[in-house]
Amino acid sequence: MRAVHAALALIAALMLGTAARAFDMEEDHVFPAATAQVAQLSILSTTDTAVFGPLIAAYQARHPGVAVRYTVASSQQIYLAVTAAAAPGYDVVISSAMDLQMKLANDGYARAHALPPGVALPGWAQWQDRLFAFAQEPVVVLLSRAALKGLALPHTRRDLIALLRDDPDRFRGRVGTYDVRASGTGYLFATQEARQSDSFWRLAEVMGTLAPRLYTSSADMIADLKSGALVLATNVIGSYAAPQFPPGSDGQIVELQDLTLTLLRTAFIPRTAQRPDLGGGFIDFLLGPEGYRLILASGLPPIGGAAFSDAPHLRPIRLDPGLLVYLDRLKRQNFLEEWTAALVRH
């Protein structure tokens, strides 16, 4: 219910441009400085502390006098916090909700930052000198091998539709996907998929007949698949699933061959940053060779154009103002109506 509430607040914010309420944080952790503290770097992020911990430790090894405050919140809360200036003082904002990040940058909430000469980021992985992507993550389908019991593994949306249609009893009540009304990330995946794939609405219709379970995070879907509550989950962030389902386990990770969206995790320095120099330094560190190595070690795929030429089904969600379109009030309203009609049967 909290998520729905937040979504309503987001809609209000998108309409009015401001929101008066303070934001809800999920985690708030301070990594103290190794030596006498000379400064504090504050990071507002959607990424779990567990994933980012090693990166922060490595950063602090280089800058022992800097304490790091790491706050985790949902992408909508982050959007609200930045636009309402409810959370001043954050020096870096990291989020996987590309559309909201894009809107923040477009509306002038991001500060310009020049990357150092040694750091080369492809053009598609940054917008102006404000928004920088540091990880590219495929959006995958999760399946329970045990539940499939000998059926052929689906490789495309067409396969998936046929699988669900041919054996509805096996999947009824056991398919999961994002509740796009409540999850910004889910909304981004659904709108981009609807835009780029002809099969999206047919798949939605078929899933709608199977009493789907709706989630607000990939982690919850992964947990339910592991517990056996789900046999199929769509639009799961692949980098979260991979460590949970090593080869040989029950969970099967499928990158659909007709189209697999690739999410760019982006960072920017907000205009209200207290130490924009530290924020810029952290972004440089993330995109530098050491950051690249650590991102890879943390399980997030770092930025690299080779992935797209090697796997043509991978398509990055483009970091451009087109992302603003689905944030339009009317567009969002229309999409949610259609989506609800397809997925949610009362």
């Binding site: 483009r318 451009d320 603003l324 379109v325 009030r329 009317l330």
Partner: protein
């Protein structure tokens, strides 16, 4: 009068360069303006297309106006430049969706075409396209205004790039103009340089009119110059004719005076009277000699311009003059020893050469003490014909030959000898006119050695 001190080349260069600089700046400004307008027109075109694409998605119903913004409308704008995008859709003055504080057009758009305007929004300069469409809502026609704005970073980047190219063009144009100006100034001024060189090459006595080919613009100058030369030549010629006439008119009566005085001397018996008469004769002799030298000099100057060019034997000339001078020398008991073993062929003007040799020998006789000897040697040495005259006179007295050969200049040690100071001048002028040389030096054991040379034939 600083400008008068500038050379023609400097003036020409300066003016050409000022013109080139003005043109280069004009070129720069023109390219910038045109390219800036083109970039703006391009941005306007894309913005207008996006606005119309959105306007075409407007739908009216009983419930109101709805719009389905096409993804490509913004995506295409975003793919052309990384500019920020803003939009606003108003129905009858109420914001339906988008940025409700995006500035409205200065006046509402009419017809189908979008209007474009520039405004400040969210700390940036924004170019906005606005289009109006009537939409039927519940049997009522509502005006719907669609606005799409974009920051101008892309355009600014293009403008900066164009400015760089335009500046390069301007500088390149100026550099080419600089080189061409140099070439052109040189080529235009070349006839003047050539004329100046042609006039400068002339010898000091060359008074021919200037016949150098010159461009039309320089003709008046050359004509004036030639007129001036002609007048100078006429004046010079008149002066020389006058001197020659005067010398002639003086010499003839002097000869008469001398004859009469000699007769008077022979008839007189009073010693005082005879002394006086002898002094008169000496004075008349010197006067006559001076007049003769003046005449010679005038002749030399006159003839030097149109030198007779005949084949001569220098030895023969010297011999003739020596024989003519021998009686005068014998009056002072001076022996003239001529050493001319063979003919020495030269080309030249007999009259002038005779005059030069006569003056040379005359000088030697004049400044030699009584009862001495004068050596005269004529030789062909290498490519030169040489005439050496050696006496036991009083030498140069420390004076340089250049001074002694100057017109009317005499040595410092000859106050007791009558002379005009023209003799050596004549010798020098004849030598120069024939391409020869003349030099004086002190002789070992006292006296002077005069060396007169001519090119051998």
């Amino acid at each position: 009068m600083r400008s008068a001190a500038l050379s023609l080349r400097q003036r020409l260069m300066l003016q050409l360069l000022v013109i080139a600089a003005v043109l280069a700046v004009l070129l720069y400004l023109t390219v910038r303006t045109v390219a800036g307008r083109a970039a703006e027109a391009t941005q306007d075109g894309i913005l207008g297309a996006a606005t119309i694409a959105i306007a075409e998605q407007l739908r009216g119903s009983e419930a109101g106006v709805s719009v389905d913004i096409p993804y490509s409308a913004f995506s295409i704008l975003g793919s052309i430049s990384e500019d920020r995008i803003f939009y606003r859709i108003d129905v009858a003055g109420q914001t339906l969706t988008g940025y409700d504080d995006l500035p409205l057009p200065p006046k509402p758009p009419q017809g189908q075409a979008p209007v474009y305007y520039t405004s400040d929004y969210k700390q940036a300069e924004v170019r906005i396209s606005a289009v109006s469409r009537p939409v039927l809502v519940a049997n009522r026609v509502e005006p719907v205004l669609v606005m799409v704005g974009q920051t101008r970073l892309g355009q600014a980047a293009i403008a900066a790039q164009v400015a760089k190219v335009a500046a390069g063009l301007g500088i390149g144009f100026f550099a080419i103009a600089l080189v061409l100006s140099l070439v052109s100034a040189r080529s235009v001024l070349r006839p003047i340089d050539l004329l100046a060189a042609a006039v400068g090459r002339r010898g000091p006595r060359d008074l021919r009119s200037v016949e150098h080919p010159t461009p039309k613009e320089l003709r008046p100058l050359v004509v004036s110059l030639n007129g001036f030369i002609a007048r100078l030549r006429a004046a010079l010629s008149r002066t020389e004719t006058f001197i020659a006439e005067a010398a002639h008119h003086i010499r003839t009566p002097l000869a008469t005076v001398r004859t009469q005085t000699e007769i008077a001397l022979r008839q007189s018996e009073d010693e005082a009277t005879r002394r006086t008469l002898r002094a008169v004769i000496r004075a008349v002799e010197e006067s006559s000699r001076s007049a003769g030298q003046l005449l010679d000099h005038a002749t030399v100057i006159y003839r030097a311009e149109r030198l007779a060019d005949e084949a001569l034997d220098l030895a023969g000339v010297v011999r003739g003059v020596t024989e003519a001078l021998r009686p005068t020398a014998e009056l002072k008991d001076i022996a003239l020893r001529l050493d001319a073993p063979g003919p020495v062929p030269v080309r030249g003007d007999r009259m002038l050469l005779e005059s030069a040799v006569r003056n040379l020998l005359d000088n030697a006789v004049k400044y030699s003490p009584d009862d001495s000897e004068i050596g005269i040697a004529v030789r062909a040495e290498g490519a030169r014909a040489t005439l050496r005259v050696q006496d036991r006179g009083r030498g140069l007295g420390g004076k340089a030959k250049a001074d002694l050969a100057e017109r009317f200049h005499r040595g410092g040690n000859v106050a007791d000898v009558v002379g005009s100071g023209l003799g050596l001048t004549i010798v020098e002028e004849v030598a120069t006119a024939h391409g020869g040389s003349f030099d004086l030096s002190d002789r070992e054991g006292g006296g002077t050695c005069a060396l007169f040379t001519l090119p051998l034939r």
